[in-house]
């Protein structure tokens, strides 16, 4: 299974600033997924990052707030822009098994980035 390195593991940021989270996978994958987990809650998909095309955002998430880069098949970044305390969450990147992710495959997760906005 894929090994996913995510950094930073945690950060405390001031309101109005931006934070970029990096996700590195040890194998090539077509799709990478970015999730948000608000305190005590389940996971909500932010967007799907495809290499070579624009990310696909879920309802309630917009590119201006959460710009995503996917420069190659092993790396992606998620930026949380113009942060407010409501953005305090754990942000997780994940990939499916194999080069192509499908609904039949489990997801593998990084250890997440715990973000606190003051």
């Amino acid at each position: 299974s894929a090994v996913i390195s995510q950094k930073p593991s945690r950060d405390i940021c001031q309101r109005g600033t931006s934070l970029t989270i990096q996700c590195q996978v040890d194998s090539q994958v077509t799709m990478m997924f970015w999730y948000r987990q608000q305190p005590g809650q389940s996971l909500t998909l932010i967007a799907t990052a495809n290499q070579g095309s624009e990310a696909t955002y879920e309802s309630g998430f917009v590119i201006d707030k959460f710009p995503i880069s996917r420069p190659n098949l092993t790396f992606s970044t998620l930026t949380v822009s113009n942060m407010s305390p409501e953005d305090s969450s754990i942000y997780l990147c994940s990939v499916g098994e194999g080069a192509i992710s499908s609904g039949n495959s489990p997801l593998h997760f990084g250890n997440g980035t715990r973000l606190t906005v003051t």
């Binding site: 996913i4 994940s94 499908s102 609904g103 489990p106 997801l107 593998h108 997760f109």
Partner: protein
């Protein structure tokens, strides 16, 4: 809309006891998956059960799926303190490209 709903929200048991968690969902699915999350960390995949399967085992884990009732259960037998974690079910709606929809999770505490 939220697809999976687990119950109970929290479960506290003693080591050696069995733990049962349930998951209900609303729409038809291709498969259902269970994940574990240790405090503040990423999720770890436990088991995947397809819509045409009724029961699946993996070590001390037993998962059942009842598509007529749109529900699944995760049984952990002979629990250990190391099983303390949050457990989430997640559903995939189709066999092609699909994204998982996660439930709200059950927080399991296993006391020594």
């Amino acid at each position: 809309s939220q697809q999976g709903e687990e119950d109970p929200q929290a479960l506290s048991i003693q080591e050696g006891e069995n733990a049962t968690m349930n998951c209900s969902y609303k729409t038809s699915i291709n498969n259902l998956q269970w994940y574990r999350q240790n405090s503040g960390r990423g999720l770890v995949h436990l088991i995947l059960i397809r819509s045409n399967e009724r029961e699946k085992h993996s070590g001390r884990l037993r998962v059942t799926l009842d598509t007529s009732k749109k529900s699944s259960s995760l049984l952990i037998t002979a629990s250990r303190a190391a099983d303390t974690a949050s457990y989430f079910c997640a559903t995939a709606r189709n066999s092609g490209y699909s994204t998982l929809t996660f439930g709200k999770g059950t927080m399991l505490l296993v006391s020594p």
